[in-house]
Subunit: 449 residues, 2 copies
C-alpha cells in the first residue's frame, strides 16, 4: 500500500537536487510511486525549467492527470511546449471528455482546431467539440459525456454485460442510469440494487425513478447547491427533451464550491485576483493594489468632506473621526456579508427587497441604539463634554442604521444587474460608508456644537 | 420521475394553510412526493408549532433523514418532544452510525444513555457508542462504521455473495475495501474492476493497492484537504495498527468545507455567530454586536491617541485621519486573509515564519511606495501644502508596511497557539491597525509640521 507522502520543503529540495544533477533514473523511481495530485503539488513549487524536466518524465496517463490539476498559469506554460499532435495523442486521449474540453478550451482558436483534428478516437473528438459549445458556468460546461446507461427493458444479466463494455471508457462508475428507447432519462440503479436484485430481473422492475437531474443550461452555482442539498455523487444532465446527455460528478462541484468561497473571501478582504501565499511578491502586490488605490480615493474624498466644515473652531470633533468611520465600515460589511451568503446558498428567495430592508432596519436600530447609549456614557464618562458626547452618540445611531441599509441594498442591486454581489463587501462598502459617515457626523456636529 | 420542486414563498404559504386547516390528508400527499432535503428546507421556514405538525406526518425513514439535515436549533426543538424510546426506535434505527452518533452526541448525558439502551440492534448500538468516543473534529468523529469489505483470498463470486449480504446494512456502496485475515486494509476494488474481472478471479489478483487512507485521529480539516486533493468519494479510516475501522464519505466532508468557508467569511466580516438572513432580528443583532462593541473600544482608544497630540494648532492633520485609518485596516485585512487561506489549504507549510515575513515586507514596501507616491502627488496637487502632503505620504508608507507585517504575523501566532487564525481577520486587525496607524501618523506629523 502506497502511503500518502508528506510534500515538505526537504522533499522538494531532494527533487530539485535530482533534477539539477540530471539523475532522471532515481527521479523516475520516486515519481512512479507518487499520486498525480502529489506530483501536481511538487510541480507548483518548482521553477519553470525544473517543472518541464519533471513533467517530461511522467508517463502519458499521469502527465494528463497532472495537467488538469495544475494552476492555470503553470498548465499554460507546460502546454506551450507541446505540439498540437502531442497534446491530442498524449494528453487528450487520456482524459475524460469534460477535462479534455476544459483543457482545449484554454488554447488559442488555431491550436484548438489543430488539436481537435489530431484526436484519433472520433467519438471522443465529437464529445469534446460538443462540450466546447456550452458556456463554462453552466451544467453543460461542467458535465462529462462518459457515463453508464442501460435500457429499461434489459434484464440484470444483459445489463451487466453491457456495463462491462461501457465501463472500459469510464474512469469511475458512480451510478448506472436507466433510459427508455428514446434515450430519455427514467431513473437510476445503484450498485446495491444490482447486487440485491435476483438474477434476470428486468431493469424496469428495480429502477429507482425518484431521480434528481438538471437541465444542461442550469447555472453552475445552482448545480453545486443541488448536489450539496441532495448529497449527490453524480448528477445526470438532460437536454430540453429530457434526453440523458451527460453527468456531473462531485469533484467538479467541489471545485466550484471551493472557488466560489475563496473568491467571496478574497473580495471581502480586498484582494482582486486569485492569489495564494506561494505566488510572487509582484503577483501578490498586483492583487492588492487596486483596492488600496480605491481606498486612497475614498480617503481623499474624506479629507474634502472634513475640509468643508469649520474644524478649526471645533477641533475636538476630530477625536471621533476614526470611531465613526470604523463603525460605519464594520456595520456595512456585516450587512453585506449576510446578504452575499444568503444569495450564494439561495436562502434569501423567501423575502422581497422591502421585507429584507425592514428587517435590516430593525437590526440596525437595535445595534445602533445599544451602541449609541454605550458611547454616550463612555464618552461623557471619559470627560469629552456633553455636546461632543451627544454628537458622537446621535451620529453613531444614524451611521449604523444607514450603513446597515446601505450594506444590504448594494449587493441586492448588484445581484439584480447580474454583477457579482461579493464586489459590494470589503473595501467598497467600507470606503463608501466612511465618507457618508463623516458627512453625517459633521452635519450633526455643526448643528449641536 | 419526480421533478425537483421549487420551494418558494407561495409553496410555503400553501403548506401553512394546509397545516392550519388540519388538512393532514392532502399534506401527507404532498410531502410523500418530496425529497427529504426539500422537506427540511420547508420545516426551517415554519413556526415551531407548524414544524411539529408537519414533522409528525413524516414516515420514520424520512423523519430521520430530515432531522439530520435540519439546523441545530430546529433539530433540538423537534427532538425535545420525542421520548428516548421514540428517538431510538424511530430515528436512530433509520440512520447510519455516523449520523446516529452525531444526533445522540447532541443530547444531554442522561438522555444519551437512555437512548442507547433502547436501541434494539446491538451491533448498531455498539457502533454508535464506539463513534461517540472520538472527538467531533477528527476522522473518527466524521466516519461511519458501515462499509463493504471483502477478504483478499475470496474470489469474485464469493465476493459478490458476501457483498449482497453486507449491502443490506449500507445505504450507498461507494467503494469495496479489501482486507487481509487480520482486518488490515490492503486496498480497494471498484465496481468497474469487479465488472471487468473474469468470473472466479481471486480478489488478491485484481485489488488496487494504491489506496489513500487516514488515521482515525487525523484532524477533520486535513481529512477534507486529502479528499479534495485526491478527488475521493470515500476515504477509509484505519486505526494505529492499520485495521480498517470506518469510512468517511464526500458529503460529510463537503459539509466540513462549507462550514469552514462560511465561518472564515463570517469572521472576516465581523459576524461572531453562525447566522443566516432568515434568522430573527434579535439573532442577527446578537451575532453582530460583539465586534461593534470592540470597534467602539478601538474608536475610544483612537480618540485618546488623537487627544495626546496638539491638534488645535495642526488641525489640518485631521483631514487625513480617515485615509490613514482606512488604509491600515485594508492592508492588514488583505495580508491576514492570504495567511488564513494559506493555512486552510495547507499551502503555507513550505516557508518558515521568517521567509513569510520577508516576503510580506516586500509586498508591503511595493504597495507602500506606489501608494505614497500617488498620495504625495494627489494631496499636493489638491492644494494641501507640502508639509501636510509629505506627512501623509511618509505615514502611509510606514502604515502600509507595518500593517502588512502585522496582518501576517497575528494569524500565524494564533495558529501556533491553536487559536482559529480567522479570528485575526476582520474587525480585530482593522481596529488594531486604526489605532497604530493614527499613532504613527501623528508622530510623523509632529516631527514634520
Amino acid at each position: 500500500m502506497s502511503d500518502r507522502i508528506e510534500i515538505n520543503s526537504a522533499f522538494i529540495e531532494q527533487v530539485v537536487a535530482l533534477i539539477e544533477s540530471n539523475n532522471s533514473k532515481e527521479l523516475s523511481g520516486i515519481i512512479a510511486d507518487l499520486h498525480f495530485a502529489d506530483i501536481t503539488e511538487i510541480i507548483e513549487y518548482l521553477s519553470d525549467n525544473d517543472a518541464h524536466i519533471l513533467f517530461d518524465l511522467l508517463n502519458e496517463e499521469k502527465s494528463a492527470a497532472v495537467l488538469i490539476e495544475l494552476e492555470d498559469d503553470t498548465r499554460k506554460k507546460l502546454l506551450s511546449e507541446l505540439t498540437a499532435k502531442e497534446i491530442a495523442e498524449e494528453v487528450i486521449d487520456n482524459l475524460e471528455s469534460d477535462d479534455a474540453a476544459d483543457l482545449i478550451g484554454e488554447l488559442s482558436e488555431d491550436k484548438k482546431e489543430e488539436v481537435l483534428s489530431h484526436i484519433e478516437d472520433i467519438e471522443h473528438a465529437s464529445d469534446i467539440s460538443d462540450l466546447l459549445s456550452y458556456p463554462e458556468d453552466t451544467a453543460g460546461g461542467l458535465m462529462a459525456k462518459e457515463l453508464i446507461k442501460v435500457n429499461e427493458n434489459w434484464n440484470t444479466l444483459q445489463c451487466l454485460g453491457e456495463m462491462r463494455k461501457q465501463a472500459e471508457n469510464v474512469k469511475q462508475v458512480h451510478t448506472i442510469y436507466v433510459v427508455d428507447d428514446n434515450e430519455k432519462l427514467l431513473g437510476s440503479l445503484s450498485l446495491k440494487q444490482l447486487l440485491l436484485a435476483e438474477n434476470g430481473s428486468v431493469i424496469k422492475s428495480i429502477v429507482t425513478t425518484d431521480i434528481v437531474s438538471v437541465n444542461v443550461n442550469e447555472d453552475d452555482e445552482n448545480v453545486a447547491n443541488i448536489m450539496n442539498k441532495y448529497d449527490l455523487i453524480a448528477l445526470p444532465v438532460v437536454d430540453d427533451l429530457n434526453k440523458l446527455i451527460g453527468k456531473i460528478t462531485f469533484d467538479d462541484v467541489m471545485d466550484v464550491v471551493k472557488e466560489e468561497a475563496e473568491k467571496d473571501y478574497q473580495m471581502a478582504s480586498g484582494i482582486s485576483e486569485d492569489v495564494e501565499s506561494r505566488d510572487s511578491v509582484w503577483e501578490l502586490t498586483r492583487a492588492r493594489l487596486p483596492w488600496l488605490l480605491i481606498g486612497m480615493i475614498g480617503g481623499l474624498l474624506g479629507a474634502k468632506v472634513i475640509g468643508v466644515f469649520d474644524l478649526e473652531n471645533n477641533f475636538e470633533l476630530a477625536f471621533f473621526i476614526p470611531l465613526i468611520a470604523a463603525m460605519g465600515g464594520n456595520v456595512g460589511v456585516q450587512s453585506a456579508a449576510i446578504v452575499v451568503q444568503g444569495l450564494a446558498n439561495d436562502s434569501l428567495k423567501m423575502e422581497n427587497l422591502f421585507q429584507k430592508l425592514i428587517k435590516e432596519l430593525g437590526v440596525g436600530l437595535l445595534n445602533g441604539i445599544i451602541c449609541s447609549v454605550v458611547i454616550l456614557g463612555a464618552a461623557f464618562g471619559l470627560g469629552y463634554g456633553m455636546g461632543l458626547s451627544l454628537t458622537v452618540s446621535i451620529s453613531l445611531l444614524v451611521v449604523i442604521v444607514f450603513s446597515a441599509l446601505f450594506g444590504t441594498f448594494v449587493p441586492l442591486i448588484l445581484e439584480k444587474y447580474k454583477i457579482d454581489p461579493a464586489l459590494a463587501t470589503g473595501p467598497f462598502i467600507t470606503t463608501a460608508n466612511d465618507i457618508l459617515g463623516l458627512f453625517i457626523y459633521f452635519m450633526i456636529g455643526q448643528a449641536i456644537l
